[in-house]
């Protein structure tokens, strides 16, 4: 312990990880305690260790002693348990887990017996409730306390609070009486929930949030003063007897446990007896390498493997790699497609173990980006699995390691702008609608005026309450709100995970999470594997299966021909709807400019359309150099080695780091710090010192000012987000495979995408339309031919025809479909009545089928069919013959408009006429150019287009420009709306479902878009077409617009 003239340690303190109670961050508490001269600080969040990660990091940084503990609240007292040693830590972690697992998410359930039976090492402070101290006539507390005294022996104290309430004296008398009678020492406790008294308003607001009321209606439920802060030595000495203060140090001196003692051991189950982990790993690598390189392992690969093995052995991560290898092996044994991504793709070992698919033969790998001795950080391998089958992998983990040894990491959900405004606003009594309005008016991407400043300006002048509202909103930002489940980050341990960190119930049934997030895991040295889901893997896998069926041969990814010219030609045209990573509007605009011709071009394509390279000004220089190689130049040979493959422009994270080393003279450690700062600079703003050092280093080495400035700009750009090359390469593989499938097997690919939905950028309707425009045939849903999933009908040969599956029919359950298929397995349905007699599904589902046109082959008129459905009575066992005939009523066939409307409602797509063709037929939008005729117009032409708004996108990098996608019967138009145009024609810009645009056509490298001048809302034309009284939101529902910013 520190030597200090002030002998006190605060042993009862809540951080803001006791959600909606604590009003200070763990770091603030640590810093303040140190400043005040405390000996130590115990973070004792309520039934939780969630704040310990940050507390530990802060205590390490400040070298201030942290005591681990937790608080539990019972009816008559509060119990604080403190950890003196590792055994106590484990039992406390287990106790928290037990209490949390017994209760719904976010709460805990604990009985005194739970503590008495399980806690043998922890120190305890018992703080009787004020009510009991005032009147324990029922004698509830004392008998219980005696039980604790017997169980804890010399590990129990009575906690005395002095919050300056009226009954302090009464409380103190009561506690001193117990001390006298029971011989238990008293310790002074602050019961702290904020680091300074100025946090009191925020604390009151948190109380109001917790109680779902406003501060005004708390009516005394909040604390009466702000004394529960870390108090000054003078104050404490004036409030407490010295012996009580001294006891805190006595306790603190017994608490010698440090979080660094936590020994996290990776599971050793996988290593068979007689083998060491290292040797077993080598064996696995050799086996894998032989498969990867059937013609012999290249020498430089062997060298690389050895280099990596040395690092792994030094850091003792063999078990980790074996664990990931085992998971991937399981997936492959179940024919589940999977692929590692991220910095792990830098590893030759991962390639040999089939964890990743990026071949190190292609060079450019930087293993140190993934793992290095200097960094001494745990590896973090992310593996994508087919999204529909990821659950099998998760169940395998639970089955193999048991629920005690495997758990998901948490994600800490923090207060951001919207949640902060809403919760604080409601706590201050503001109306919910008013708060929604405020939020709507904020532009959080405005770089010049921070949104908090905007918020302040939106309020009434001279309103003190509004001013407080803004201040409190700013204060609550980044406060933890609750724990949620990480997408797929698993922690697996050799012993019980809940002895390492408490677990609690997640919202999803059957799932438990640990109380730490990935940052905590990193700072505490725990290993995590990310078991992620990727829809495209499911789609590719399905495509492979369908190819097997079609060709009668086994199809794997290895069967797909590499570097197919036709595939690249398709991509160069920007024809990439459905293709992984390059189907967005921005990517489609980039493809004709970048014109990928080889795999590495795809790697660049994936990485270049990102905020990082865009903000860093890398895109245009790169494209210019591709079209004019004479522009390529390097200031030095070292820089050339780093940037040659990207024509002198840094596009990947690793290049920036390598440049810092070769050009700026950074050591590998400094380069690594730069990498971290790049990732965190928006939160901490810590890039500046690096930039200065880098610039100085470059100038010293003879590089020009211009080069140095450009590199610094690019580094800042990477602060937004840039891809590691290995990650881009992993993704580029999937880009290629999906592009090849789209090019050569479009029907199969479309079918696979549809069956893997939800995924990707486009709706099923858009994918179907794209297929049809590529001459694909799509067959409607049919009771005699469809299945739950879409299928490819090869009866006519060629690429086949896509048969829509029942899964798209809104209102039809899988169970109903199964009944249908069972009935159909004997013989097809011959008529409506035959169907109705053989398939016992409810009326709604029958109607759903009729509405979807599934009976067209049996009876063409869906109105008539629906009528028959409604009137059908199921046969009974009674000897009555039911009159099912309803032929006396005849219904007219639906019009094309009605058919389209019904299909859109029921299926989300239509195989009938596109709405735009119907609208054009009726004269609306007559002078508008269809999308397939735009290619005939010259650059700079005045043009009118119209279509259904299917997307509005306003990227943060685009200076307020909005990209609108209009869909007509022939395809899509890209509209560019400048900020001023949007503001001036707000209604049409925001509210139109059917939009007509008058503007100027621009074309560059076969990429066409229209700069909008006039926007005209033609939604009324659609409404009149459908001739219905329904309100406008139904139009939005028919063809939803994907609006995002």
């Amino acid at each position: 312990m520190k030597e200090s003239t002030f002998d006190y340690a605060e042993l009862h303190c809540l951080s803001n990880f006791t959600f909606q109670r604590g009003a200070s961050h763990p770091e603030e508490l640590i810093e303040r305690a140190q400043y005040l001269g405390y000996q130590a600080l115990a973070i004792t969040d309520e039934c939780s260790f969630a704040g310990l990660g940050r507390a530990y990091a802060a205590s390490k940084q400040t070298d201030f002693p942290l005591i681990v503990g937790s608080e539990f609240r019972f009816d008559t007292f509060t119990l604080v348990l403190l950890v003196p040693n590792i055994a106590a830590y484990k039992e406390l972690s287990l106790l928290i887990s037990t209490a949390r697992r017994q209760a719904p998410k976010g709460s805990y359930l604990i009985q005194p017996d739970d503590v008495l039976s399980s806690i043998k090492h922890c120190l305890s402070i018992v703080i009787p409730s004020r009510k009991v101290c005032a009147n324990d006539s029922d004698q509830v507390f004392l008998p219980l306390f005696q039980r604790f005294k017997r169980a804890f022996a010399n590990r129990i104290w009575l906690g005395l609070q002095r919050p300056l309430m009226a009954d302090d004296r009464v409380i103190q008398t009561y506690i001193e009486d117990i001390r006298h009678w029971q011989g238990i020492p008293i310790v002074a406790v602050g019961s702290v929930d904020m680091h300074v008294p100025a946090r009191q308003p925020l604390r009151d607001v948190l109380t109001a949030i917790k109680l779902r009321t406003s501060v005004e209606q708390l009516a005394g439920r909040q604390a009466s003063n702000g004394e529960s802060h870390l108090r000054s030595p003078n104050k404490l000495m004036s409030l407490y007897k010295k012996e009580y203060l001294d006891q805190s140090v006595v306790i603190a001196n017994r608490c010698n446990f440090s979080m660094s003692e936590l020994r996290y051991e990776y599971p050793k189950d996988l290593v068979p007896e007689g083998w060491t982990a290292h040797d077993y790993l080598i064996k696995a690598i050799n086996e894998g390498a032989n498969k990867r390189y059937p013609n012999g392992i290249p020498p430089f690969i062997l060298q690389q493997i050895q280099h990596e093995l040395d690092i792994i052995a030094h850091l003792r991560y063999e078990h980790y790699f074996l664990t990931v290898w085992d998971l991937v092996k399981f997936a492959r044994s179940r024919d589940i497609l999977c692929q590692g991504r991220g910095s792990a793709a830098n590893s030759a070992i991962c390639f040999c173990l089939h964890i990743t698919e990026v071949n190190p033969e292609n060079g450019n790998l930087l293993f140190e980006r993934f793992l290095s001795k200097e960094r001494n950080e745990p590896p973090d391998i992310d593996v994508d699995f087919e999204h529909h089958r990821r659950e099998e992998v998760i169940q395998y983990i639970y089955q193999r390691y048991g629920r005690e040894r495997a758990a998901l990491a948490a994600t800490v959900i923090r207060y951001r702008a919207k949640s902060a405004i809403k919760d604080v606003g409601k706590a201050l009594g503001y109306d919910e609608h008013y708060l929604s309005r405020l939020i709507q008016q904020l532009d959080r991407r405005d770089q010049e005026v921070h949104w908090l400043k905007q918020l302040r300006k939106l309020g009434p002048d001279n309103s003190v309450i509004y001013s407080m509202f803004v201040d409190l909103t700013a204060e609550i930002l980044d406060f933890p709100r609750h724990l949620s489940q990480h997408v797929g980050g698993f922690v697996i341990a050799s012993e019980r995970v809940d002895e390492l960190v408490p677990t609690e119930n997640a919202a999803m049934e059957g799932r438990t999470i640990i109380q730490w997030d990935k940052n905590d895991l990193e700072s505490l040295g725990l290993l995590k594997i990310d078991v992620l889901a990727l829809g495209m893997l499911s789609a590719i896998k399905r495509s492979m299966s369908m190819l097997c069926e079609k060709t009668g041969q086994a199809w794997t990814l290895e069967c797909i021909p590499r570097e197919d010219a036709e595939t690249y030609a398709m991509l160069q045209n920007g024809d990439s709807v459905g293709v992984f990573q390059v189907e967005s509007r921005a990517q489609m605009s980039m493809l004709p400019r970048l014109k990928p011709t080889c795999f590495y071009d795809l790697v660049v394509q994936v990485a270049i359309v990102r905020p990082g390279p865009i903000q860093g000004g890398m895109v245009h220089p790169y494209l210019q150099r591709r079209s004019d190689p004479t522009l390529v130049s390097y200031p030095s040979a070292e820089v050339k080695r780093v940037l040659e493959r990207t024509l002198g422009v840094p596009i990947f994270q690793e290049q920036v780091i390598k440049l810092a080393m070769v050009a700026g003279g950074f050591s590998s450690g400094e380069a690594d710090q730069l990498r971290r700062a790049m990732g965190a600079w928006k939160r901490t703003g810590q890039l500046k010192p690096f930039e200065e050092k880098l610039k100085a280093g470059m100038l010293e080495r003879g590089y020009s000012n211009e080069f140095a400035d450009r590199l610094c700009l690019q580094i800042r750009g990477f602060g937004e987000y840039g891809f590691p090359e290995s990650h881009a390469a992993s993704f580029a593989l999937l880009v290629y495979f999906s592009a090849w499938l789209k090019c050569h097997e479009p029907v199969i690919f479309c079918c696979a995408l549809q069956n893997s939905y939800p995924m990707g950028f486009y709706s099923p309707s858009q994918l179907i339309q794209d297929l049809q425009r590529h001459a694909g045939t799509v067959l409607p849903v049919c009771v005699n031919a469809s299945f739950w999933d879409h299928i490819v009908d090869h009866s006519q040969g060629g690429n086949g025809m896509l048969r829509i599956g029942f899964r798209l029919v809104n209102g039809l359950s899988k169970q109903a479909v199964q009944l249908l298929l069972n009935a159909r397995s004997n013989r097809p349905f011959e008529s409506i009545h035959d169907f109705l007699d053989r398939v016992s599904i409810n009326t709604s589902e029958r109607e759903a089928l009729a509405s979807a046109g599934a009976f067209e082959t049996l009876a063409g008129n869906r109105h008539q069919v629906r009528w028959q459905m409604l009137g059908h009575q199921l046969p009974t066992h009674l000897p009555f013959e039911l009159n099912q005939s309803s032929s006396e009523v005849c219904f007219e066939s639906p019009t094309p408009v009605q058919t389209t409307q019904e299909e859109l409602r029921r299926l989300g797509l239509t195989l009938g006429r596109h709405l735009m063709s119907l609208i054009r037929e009726r004269g609306a939008c007559r002078r508008c150019t269809p999308s397939n005729e735009l290619a005939q117009l010259n650059h700079g032409s005045l043009v009118r287009v119209a279509g259904i708004v299917t997307g509005r996108q306003r990227p943060g990098t685009a200076s307020g420009v909005t990209f609108i996608t209009l869909e007509d019967e022939f395809g899509n138009c890209n509209i560019v709306v400048w900020l001023a145009t949007a503001k001036a024609q707000r209604q049409a810009y925001l509210g139109a479902t059917l939009l007509e645009v008058h503007g100027i056509l621009e074309r560059e490298n076969n990429v066409t878009h229209i700069i909008a001048g006039q926007l005209i809302d033609r939604t009324a034309a659609w409404q009149s077409l459908l001739n219905s009284e329904e309100s406008s939101q139904d139009w939005h529902g028919l063809v939803p617009s994907r609006d995002f910013h």
Binding site: D204, S224, E227, R437, V889
Partner: protein, 490 residues
């Protein structure tokens, strides 16, 4: 023959924002879509049904009010009461329609045109928009009025002489006017049916078989093949209106605007009952309470001669309000008439001494209040606030409350502060000198409710002290170090 009056903007009318220049919308509580929009909002592209987020983007100055079911219902009832002038059978069809039977009234009004004219004029007093429609049944009239303007009343002078075929009544009335649930309407749309006449052309037995008994019954009531039981509106015996303001009213005369509608409704009510009112009570609840103020402000407006005139009552109220200084903005207002018998004397049971005693007590209190003023008699109540001046309050006694809860001592809610507070709390703390006392006990630190105190967080340290004359006092020291006397223990 029935006449239906449908009010498509009734939610906005109930909140009195229909004709306002600023853009207003009404949204249901906890719903994120626009329910109704006034003309100013519609002109900016804000239409019913769009998401609020879009609405805010289209109209940044948009004001959103939560729909108030109570006020909407009250407005509809007021309309129904007014329409009672024109028919003996009035039926309210929530949420926005009233139907009246008119055939039997023709002999009084002469013609349907005359009735229609009067009804229109009456409806204009209450709502900004309305559609009138006739029908052979109440339900069909209702549907026709809900179908919109194009089904508005077209009076045929000879209407009563030549019966109109049912099919003509049903002609082109959209099915959506029935407001059947979405599933039912979607089903009918899926059969290609769009209007009531198309539905009517189907054999009724098949309607029942194919479309269900519920629809069959409803449709049958509309076309008259099934008798529809009419829920005839009965006027309440007393007048009561409660308004919760979306935006608190800061000045007393700001209450006049909502009171205009209320007095109008009151007048209608009185006239329907053929009564005169002698006394009106208005209770105002402020947004917060301040030292020494009651939690509610009660105004009694009396008129010795009695009146049913809306403008007269409004004038009296205005006079009362003009002298009233609001201690805090007003959040809710309740207006009610006493029993129309106006006297607090009630029938006494010969043998029920308890009840008789209660009534005597109430009578006694009322007489004292009448003599010395309404606020003279008060009873204590605990709020539970930490601040001593807000910890307890005295609220005026209402005579009727005494009848409900007489002698039993009201249970004071338990509060941790109950024992530590002095029996005698000064109305206003008095600054004192520290030499006047000796500290016995303390401190107890209390923070002010910063949200009421203009954001200022002030602390007071309270002490029990021994006064020079041996009395035990309660004093505090504030952040500035000044001492104040706040109460006495003995």
């Amino acid at each position: 023959m029935w006449l239906a009056i449908s009010c498509p903007c009734i939610e906005m009318d109930a909140l009195s924002v229909m004709g306002v220049e600023a853009p207003f919308v009404v949204a249901q509580k906890h719903d994120s879509k626009v329910s109704q929009a006034n003309d100013a909002a519609k002109s900016l592209g804000v239409n019913p049904g769009i998401p609020l987020t879009l609405a805010f983007t289209l109209a940044p100055t948009l004001e959103v009010l939560s729909s108030d079911a109570k006020q909407t219902k009250a407005l509809l009832e007021s309309l129904a009461q007014s329409l009672g002038e024109f028919s003996g059978t009035v039926s309210i069809r929530p949420p926005d329609c009233v139907v009246i039977e008119v055939k039997s009234m023709l002999k009084y009004f002469g013609s349907l045109q005359s009735i229609a004219r009067s009804v229109r004029s009456c409806a204009k007093d209450w709502v900004s928009h309305h559609n009138l429609a006739l029908g052979p049944t109440a339900l069909l009239a209702q549907w026709r009025s809900q179908a919109g303007d194009q089904y508005d009343l077209i009076v045929n002078e000879k209407l009563t002489e030549v019966p109109i075929p049912l099919i003509q009544w049903l002609d082109k009335v959209p099915l959506s006017a029935t407001r059947w649930d979405k599933k039912q309407l979607s089903r009918l749309s899926g059969l290609g049916l769009k209007t009531l006449d198309e539905l009517y052309r189907l054999p009724s037995v098949l309607i029942r078989k194919h479309l269900g008994d519920g629809l069959y019954q409803q449709f049958g009531k509309a076309i008259g093949t099934i008798v529809e039981p009419i829920d005839v509106y009965q006027m309440p015996e007393s007048f009561h209106r409660e308004i919760e303001f979306d935006r608190e009213v800061e000045h007393s005369l700001g209450l006049i605007f909502p009171l205009k509608n209320v007095t109008q409704a009151l007048s209608t009510f009185l006239r329907r009952h053929r009564q005169k009112l002698y006394e009106l009570t208005i209770k105002l609840t402020p947004a917060w309470t301040i030292e020494d103020q009651a939690s509610e402000i009660t105004l009694e407006i009396k008129h010795d001669l009695g009146s049913d005139d809306a403008s007269l009552w409004l004038e009296l109220i205005e006079l009362k309000l003009s002298t009233l200084c609001l201690p805090a903005p007003i959040r809710t207002m309740v207006v009610f008439s006493g029993s129309l018998e106006a006297s607090i004397e009630s029938n006494q049971d010969l043998f029920d001494t308890v009840a008789n005693d209660r009534q005597s007590a109430a009578l006694f209190i009322s007489r004292i209040q009448a003599r010395l003023g309404e606020d003279v008699i008060k009873s204590p109540s605990i709020t539970g606030e930490h601040l001593p001046e807000h910890y307890a309050e005295y609220v005026p006694v209402v005579a009727t409350d005494v009848i409900k809860q007489p002698y039993t001592q009201s249970k004071l809610p338990s509060s941790p502060h109950t024992c530590s507070r002095p029996q005698w709390l000064l109305v206003c703390p008095t600054q004192i000198d520290s030499s006047q006392f000796r500290v016995i006990e303390g401190p107890e630190r209390v923070s002010t409710a910063w949200w009421k105190n203009r954001g200022q967080l002030e602390r007071r340290d309270y002490y029990k002290v021994l006064w020079g004359d041996q009395r035990i006092a309660w004093v505090f020291r504030n952040d500035k170090g000044h001492w104040y006397l706040h109460g006495w223990f003995s």
